[in-house]
């Protein structure tokens, strides 16, 4: 075992690498067949494949180094997600000093508690302390115009971009709670979750990302009835059902990388994929409200970080707490 990577994970990564190579080759063949044409579907496909390569490589390299590296990776992703969120969020000039806390201080403390394996502090820092402190700081700035909207917007940015995303690396600690109990896990040694914890995190990431892919594929091929037409015409019942069921089946098939039996893995995958779908729906509503297509619309040719992490940010906290509730004592 090197870092957090054992032979099971190596097998998983070889599988992921194989799928990505296949996807890249297919996209290249499609690009060659349609050369010279402007094709938004193909452009989107290439963006997604590039994002998965980055995700897979980022996770593989950081897992090789250890838990600290993974946590720093997600701190960086939270920062980039906040930047995209604040670009489209109509905050006021008077919110600036509150935003400095939001961006530079609270996320660092949040990920520090995570790094300390200090679950009790990690779980309440943002929903209790930060959510009360930020409106206080904003009220002290004295601008009452649209105060409630601004306070809500700032808390929501923190909730989605920092708190929810930080639950992805938090999953790595779950095996410590499963084997030694919740109390013993508080302040336990870094990397204590070992390869088992890292595999649990990868289980969620792989299943939810594949759910996105299969929702897209089923939606493109069979999709006719939109779930919420005014939010996104591309999210159809056919895509939702086909995608979630396919990914749930894959999740059940991946039981061997988790501490669960096959039906437990299937149920957790099912709930995670459903949450992932709703995450995409909520983020689409925000984008539609703000009149942008992608969170990274200001960077040519790229979707944003939040466009790729929306589903994970909604599924990770629920996955974490379901496992913690049912499988740890």
């Amino acid at each position: 075992m090197i870092g957090l990577i054992d032979s099971t994970m190596l097998t998983l990564f070889i599988g992921i690498g194989g799928i990505l190579v296949l996807a890249t080759v297919i996209a290249a063949i499609l690009g060659f067949a349609k050369r010279g044409q402007e094709n938004s579907t193909l452009k989107n496909l290439n963006q997604r494949i590039a994002a998965w390569w980055a995700m897979a490589l980022g996770l593989a390299i950081t897992l090789l180094i250890g838990e600290t590296a993974v946590i720093i990776l997600f701190l960086g992703l939270s920062f980039l997600a906040l930047r995209e969120f604040l670009t489209i969020a109509p905050t006021h000039r008077s919110d600036h000093k509150t935003l400095v806390w939001l961006v530079y201080i609270i996320p660092v403390i949040n990920y520090w508690f995570l790094w300390e394996h200090w679950y009790g502090a990690f779980a309440v820092l943002i929903p209790v302390y930060a959510f009360l402190f930020l409106p206080i700081r904003n009220a002290l700035a004295g601008d009452t115009d649209n105060f409630l909207q601004r306070a809500a917007m700032i808390q929501w940015a923190l909730m989605v971009c920092v708190y929810a995303i930080s639950y992805i690396p938090a999953i790595m600690q779950l095996p410590v709670m499963m084997h030694n109990g919740r109390e013993a896990a508080e302040g336990s040694a870094l990397g204590g979750g070992g390869a088992e914890g890292a595999l649990l995190m990868l289980f969620l990431v792989v299943v939810v990302q594949l759910s996105d892919v299969f929702q897209y594929v089923w939606g493109k091929t069979l999709g006719k009835h939109p779930v919420a037409p005014s939010v996104s015409p591309n999210k159809t019942w056919e895509g939702l059902i086909g995608g979630v069921l396919t990914a749930t089946a894959i999740g059940a098939g991946l039981w061997w990388i988790t501490p669960f039996v096959w039906w437990q893995a299937a149920l957790l995958a099912f709930v995670s994929c459903l949450m992932g779908f709703f995450g995409g729906l909520v983020m689409s509503s925000i984008k539609r409200d703000r009149g942008v297509k992608d969170f990274g619309a200001t960077i040519a040719g790229h979707g944003g970080i939040m466009d790729r992490l929306d589903s994970l940010s909604f599924s990770a906290p629920v996955f974490f707490h379901l496992v913690r509730f049912f499988f740890t004592t």
Binding site: R83, P90, T91, R93, H96, R290, V292, T298, I299, A300
Partner: protein
């Protein structure tokens, strides 16, 4: 010199990455703009990041020949002066507000400087730069504004355009930089920004000062009005 060049390239990359700047030519979706060998660049002004970002997006071969104009009352002393003139090649000028304070200045209007004529001595330095074949970056509003509006232009832009009628006057719209680092704040908040380089303007033979300044200002004001990403108040 080679080391300094590398430092400047690295700094340029750092600045455009940090400001999340997407640079595009007018009317295109991310297509790189053309930078003429000599130009008078002017832009809307809402942040200290404005001149730094404009400097950073210049192509390597043109960068040493581009002179941002900065206010001596802010940038003209201590370490700020070393940074402005040593790294960014800035030309410092004394601002109109250096004159004795009058009651007019106290009026609650954003246009205290409107229609003011810069002192001739301010312009001499700039016309010398143009005569030497170098480019200028100027902010004709004269001071930093709230970011979503463009204040009335001062006359200097017109005088410079008249002085060198063959040098293209290039409008540049800067979006969101004022939200990253607004006036009066010391710590920037990360946001993605946009730099739009417009088609060059030339002053007409019989075009009046007012007409030219209004025409130049409208390019920036119209572009800012198309903004969809967030708003400031």
């Amino acid at each position: 010199m080679k080391v300094m060049h590398l430092i400047k390239r690295g700094l340029s990359g750092l600045i455009t990455t940090a400001s999340g700047a997407r640079i595009s030519a007018e009317g295109t979706d991310g297509q790189a703009p053309d930078f003429p060998s000599q130009a008078i660049y002017f832009a809307n002004h809402s942040s200290h990041l404005d001149f730094v970002t404009l400097w950073a997006i210049m192509p390597a071969e043109l960068q040493p020949k581009v002179r941002p104009i900065a206010a001596a009352d802010y940038w003209g002393s201590g370490i700020k002066q070393s940074v402005a003139t040593g790294i960014f090649n800035a030309h410092l000028v004394h601002r109109y507000k250096d004159r004795p304070h009058t009651t007019i200045d106290a009026r609650p209007t954003r246009q205290t400087d409107s229609g003011s004529s810069p002192k001739t001595s301010q312009l001499t330095g700039m016309t010398d730069i143009l005569d030497a074949g170098d480019s200028l970056i100027i902010f004709p509003e004269g001071t930093r504004g709230p970011g979503d509006q463009v204040a009335t232009f001062q006359a200097g832009l017109y005088r410079l355009a008249k002085h060198s009628p063959d040098v293209p006057v290039v409008p540049v719209t800067l979006k969101n930089l004022g939200r990253i680092l607004p006036k009066g704040e010391a710590i920037p908040v990360p946001r993605l920004s946009q730099v739009i380089v417009h088609n060059p303007l030339f002053v007409g033979d019989d075009e009046s000062q007012e007409d030219f300044l209004a025409r130049a200002r409208r390019v920036l004001a119209d572009e800012l009005a198309t903004e969809t990403e967030g708003e400031t108040a």
